[in-house]
């Protein structure tokens, strides 16, 4: 038996065993702690990378039956792991993010106490997330979701003395449990009808019983369960609370990885289990939830004064993009959604890590108090700008490549179905992108540019060990942005193909022809339409050409010998201030009329003041209210599914 077949279970186990070993040996020595963590996360990453060849390129599916308990007479009772290209795609996202987060933690968390608990929980979180995406069993997905929520809550509250940490964790736990219960109820309903929980077998059986009302109700519960895990509207306040107070490395995990589990769940649910992506109602439901989350969260980000809370809202906004296009049900839609999911993990991880760096060095995340850090932390500033450009979708970074596909997908869907709803979604997506840009301008202006406050005069650049994971993510931002063709060939096409070939997924687990016997036919896809149109490499060459031309003209025209006309900059170390290099201002000398972060877009906020004040009150911070929103949303989706499907 090929060793590669064992890699899925081994990669999950190595993380859990790492957690266990860490708890045993890591109490005293930080070297042992870091060593165990590093080995575990590296091993998981390497194993997932090794699976790229067989799964992504050769199109194989790996099914692993625990204890060799293979299906008997078409009934699968054993616990299984099933890895197709879609699972592997998300597993790669997870392991890369875990790797970056782990390495970052070594320095970032070095000042905290009881670190052994941190790494134990961290490895458990990583293992559970990886287990979730690789699992071939619905109930195991639930168990993994619970472990994931549980450890994430514990890690959110890890710095118990940090302002609001406990509160954020508690809200996350309470409202998160609503989602978990919803998932559990959905599973119970599915089991009561079909008496199996194996994903492959369910994928074959559910489409046959598509009109069964209990299964439709189960669809609603499962969808809302995963939506909670992706923090879609109306669960976004949780994400904001939890991200803002968690340590930055955990914010990366929550935003980059946990939300991806929700996305993975929804993709599996709609495209594999129920295979009802072409029903208009499902399209409206999923796309609608995505679009609403995308827009509300991006406007909420305008209100924020806390760096990480702002990032948290953007995180949900970007997940909204993913869900929106996942709901379209077109090939272009799903591939752009997967692409954006991947990119979101990369750039949002980078942004959270830079926020963590700022917090680590200055001790503050308050946008109204920080400023001018680009002088003191130039490398972090560059990293932040790369991340901000990516999330705002500026070419040539990866955010643009995927957003470009998203616009194409929504617009094509709108035009080919003649449905104005999708055109509206396209407009919302485009506007959201501008608003995202605006709020990152706000962050860069109020944290990295502008004047440096006196209290941060002696801030230092972050240590190299923290910059390394940031550089890894930044490099990924650029690489995946400049070579979308390669990403498409090696990652997107196989994953999209896997989404559309449920029968291959079923057959591999349940034996050949099982899918066909149950009436599930799917052929996969040949290619992604409208790809290859955006060629950043060509554009960059163009840019290079023009830059060279401008530079040559500038050189020819530059004054040959006069020194006075050259660029003059002030001497940084000079004690006496030279008035020539002071900023021009016409008021009193002592007062820097710095524009506060939240007032930066006054012209916009003034016109929308009623909306903003309503949304501010709506995010009341009271756990009961958030529970109510969640319960109402679940009830609404339940009713809609049962009545309309």
């Amino acid at each position: 038996m090929n060793i590669l077949n064992h890699f899925p279970i081994m990669s999950v186990m190595v993380l859990f065993i790492g957690a266990f070993v860490n708890a045993l040996v890591g109490r005293k020595s930080s070297a042992a702690r870091n060593g165990v963590t590093f080995v575990a996360i590296t091993a998981a990453l390497v194993m997932m990378l090794a699976l790229i060849k067989p799964i992504m390129l050769d199109g194989e599916v790996i099914t692993y039956w625990m204890g060799n308990w293979a299906p008997v007479e078409g009934w699968a009772f054993g616990i299984s792991l099933e890895v197709d290209a879609l699972s592997l795609f998300f597993a790669l996202i997870v392991t890369v993010a875990v790797f970056a987060s782990g390495i970052y933690s070594f320095t970032y968390m070095s000042h905290d106490d009881s670190q052994v608990n941190y790494y134990t929980l961290f490895l458990m979180l990583s293992g559970s997330v990886l287990g979730l995406v690789l699992s071939g069993d619905l109930f195991n997905i639930f168990v993994m979701v619970e472990i994931m929520t549980f450890t994430a809550v514990a890690l959110t509250a890890f710095r118990t003395n940090y302002e609001g940490a406990l509160e954020g964790a508690f809200k996350y736990l309470v409202v998160g449990s609503l989602g978990s219960t919803s998932l559990l109820v959905g599973i119970a309903m599915v089991y009561s009808q079909l008496h199996t929980l194996n994903l492959a077998q369910l994928s074959a059986l559910i489409p046959q019983n598509a009109s069964n009302p209990v299964l439709l109700a189960a669809f609603a519960f499962l969808f809302m369960g995963f939506a909670t895990k992706a923090f879609l509207f109306p669960f976004q306040p949780l994400a904001a609370d939890a991200h803002a107070v968690a340590p930055a490395s955990i914010s990366l995990m929550i935003s980059g990885v946990l939300t991806k589990c929700g996305v993975y769940g929804i993709v599996r649910l709609v495209y594999c289990l129920y295979q009802n992506w072409d029903l208009p109602f499902v399209q409206y439901l999923v796309t609608g939830f995505g679009a609403v989350s995308m827009f509300i969260c991006v406007t909420m980000a305008f209100n924020q004064h806390n760096f990480k809370r702002l990032l948290a809202f953007h995180s949900i906004s970007q997940v909204g993009y993913v869900i929106t296009v996942v709901g379209l049900g077109s090939i272009l839609g799903i591939s752009s959604g997967l692409y954006h999911a991947m990119n979101h993990t990369i750039f949002k991880g980078l942004l959270f890590l830079t926020a963590g760096a700022v917090q680590h060095q200055t001790g503050s995340l308050d946008l109204d108090r920080l400023g001018g850090l680009s002088k003191r932390m130039p490398r972090t500033t560059i990293l932040f700008l790369i991340g901000a450009a990516s999330i705002s979708g500026l070419p040539p970074f990866n955010g643009f490549a995927s957003k470009w596909m998203i616009y194409q997908a929504t617009f094509q869907q709108g035009m080919s179905t003649g449905n104005p709803f999708f055109i509206l979604v396209c407009v919302v997506a485009l506007i959201t992108s501008v608003l995202t840009l605006a709020s990152f301008i706000k962050v860069s202006q109020s944290v990295f540019f502008g004047q440096l406050p006196e209290e941060y005069k002696d801030v230092k650049e972050v240590p190299v060990a923290m910059r390394v994971p940031m550089w890894i993510l930044a490099a990924l931002c650029v690489v995946t942005g400049v070579f979308p063709n390669l990403v498409e060939k090696f990652l997107l096409l196989p994953a999209t193909n896997a989404v559309y070939s449920a029968s291959a997924y079923i057959d591999h687990a349940m034996g050949a022809d099982y899918a066909a016997a149950h009436g599930v036919f799917s052929n996969g896809i040949l290619g992604i339409p409208a790809s290859n149109c955006w060629q950043p490499a060509t554009w960059l060459m163009l840019l290079f050409c023009v830059t060279c031309a401008v530079a040559i003209v500038a050189l020819l025209g530059s004054p040959n010998d006069s020194k006075k006309l050259a660029i003059s900059a002030c001497d940084e170390d000079a004690e006496a201030l030279d008035a020539k290099y002071e900023s021009f201002f016409s008021g009193e000398e002592a007062v820097y009329s710095q524009v506060g972060g939240s007032d930066l877009f006054w012209g916009f906020k003034h016109n929308w003041r009623k909306y903003f004040s309503f949304m501010h009150d709506w995010h009341s911070g009271i756990v009961n209210d958030y529970t109510l929103y969640g319960a109402v949303a679940i009830a609404f989706v339940l009713l809609a599914c049962v009545i309309l499907l």
Partner: protein, 321 residues
């Protein structure tokens, strides 16, 4: 040979040199027209060029709060990105130089990139007035982006509905080809509101007078440019001029495309003529007629009136007119 040809396209026509010449020409004409409408003589035609050269000859001061590298790089990157747009536009009956990636969304984002470079430059300079300027620039951007997006969708949906399944939704080449076959888009009833909306978007996108909230020299001391001097300032001025040309050209491609005579030089002459007329309509006329808007008025105006026009156009397309 093809490398040389490409180089010619990039550097001469329709690339760098043509952009700069057109930018200087249009903005010089604009200043003369505004002067004439105010019953003044106005500056010479080449005044923008003199301004540019003079700025190049001045000292470049980098303020104490500024980040040197970004402060100097921002104008260059913005300018280069802007010039690269001209290579995606299939102007004057020519195919775009890089037609493979020519796409309205790409152009939208490249225009955004240009504005972002200006904003980053302003943010880098660390000055209070620049801070106010960048915030206004960003609000102006939010304002015109919605109608711009709607216009783009309206234009694309016409070509999409008529030709059926175009492989690329927003392809500029497809739009021009469509117009070559079916007549310019502006002749369609459904496109007239969109064209008006686009005409209103142009001055704000360029940052011309009634909407130049970000560079209001009297209120906020040139806003985004308040700390710039010397060569970087010159490049920002040039960017502004070239943007006038690029936006006029974009309008030509979107609404007046496909008008060809077969003779290249004549085509170019017609195209230049269109650009000049458009500059008069979009830049000189509002400049001479209107006083500067307040920033919240700009936002309100664009999200209600202009966006409304574009939505009307979209609805008309949807109704099949």
């Amino acid at each position: 040979m093809s490398v040389l040809m490409n180089l010619f396209h990039v550097l001469v026509f329709p690339g760098l040199l043509f952009c700069v010449v057109m930018g200087v020409l249009l903005s010089g004409l604009d200043r003369i027209w505004v002067a004439r409408m105010q019953r003044r003589v106005g500056p010479p035609l080449l005044q923008p060029l003199y301004d540019f050269l003079k700025c190049c000859g001045k000292e470049t001061i980098i303020p104490r709060h500024a980040r040197k590298a970004a402060f100097l790089a921002a104008p260059v990157v913005g300018f280069v990105a802007l010039v690269s747009i001209s290579l995606f536009l299939p102007v004057a009956g020519q195919e775009a130089v890089f037609s493979g990636s020519s796409d309205l969304v790409v152009i939208l984002y490249l225009l955004t990139l240009v504005s972002v470079c200006m904003i980053v430059g302003a943010a880098c300079s660390g000055a209070p007035f620049a801070g106010v300027g960048l915030s206004r620039e960003m609000v102006a951007m939010i304002s015109y982006e919605l109608p711009f997006v709607l216009v783009i969708l309206a234009v694309s949906s016409v070509t999409f509905t008529v030709t059926g399944n175009v492989p690329q939704s927003f392809s500029l080449q497809a739009i021009v080809d469509f117009q070559a076959a079916n007549g310019a888009l502006i002749t369609r009833l459904s496109m007239i509101p969109a064209a008006i909306a686009m005409l209103l978007v142009i001055p704000c996108e360029v940052g011309n007078h009634p909407f130049d909230v970000a560079e209001a020299e009297t209120e906020i001391c040139e806003g985004t440019l308040s700390e710039y001097s010397g060569a970087p300032l010159a490049i920002f001025r040039l960017t502004h001029m070239v943007k006038m040309y690029i936006m006029a050209a974009l309008f030509c491609v979107m609404f007046l495309g496909g008008i060809t005579t077969g003779i290249v030089l004549l085509d170019i002459a017609i195209f230049v003529l269109f650009c000049i007329v458009l500059t008069f309509i979009t830049s000189s006329l509002p400049h001479a007629v209107c006083a500067r808007f307040k920033v919240e008025q700009v936002f309100k105006f664009y999200w209600t009136v202009v966006a409304g026009l574009a939505v009307i156009s979209l609805i008309l397309v949807w109704l099949g007119l």
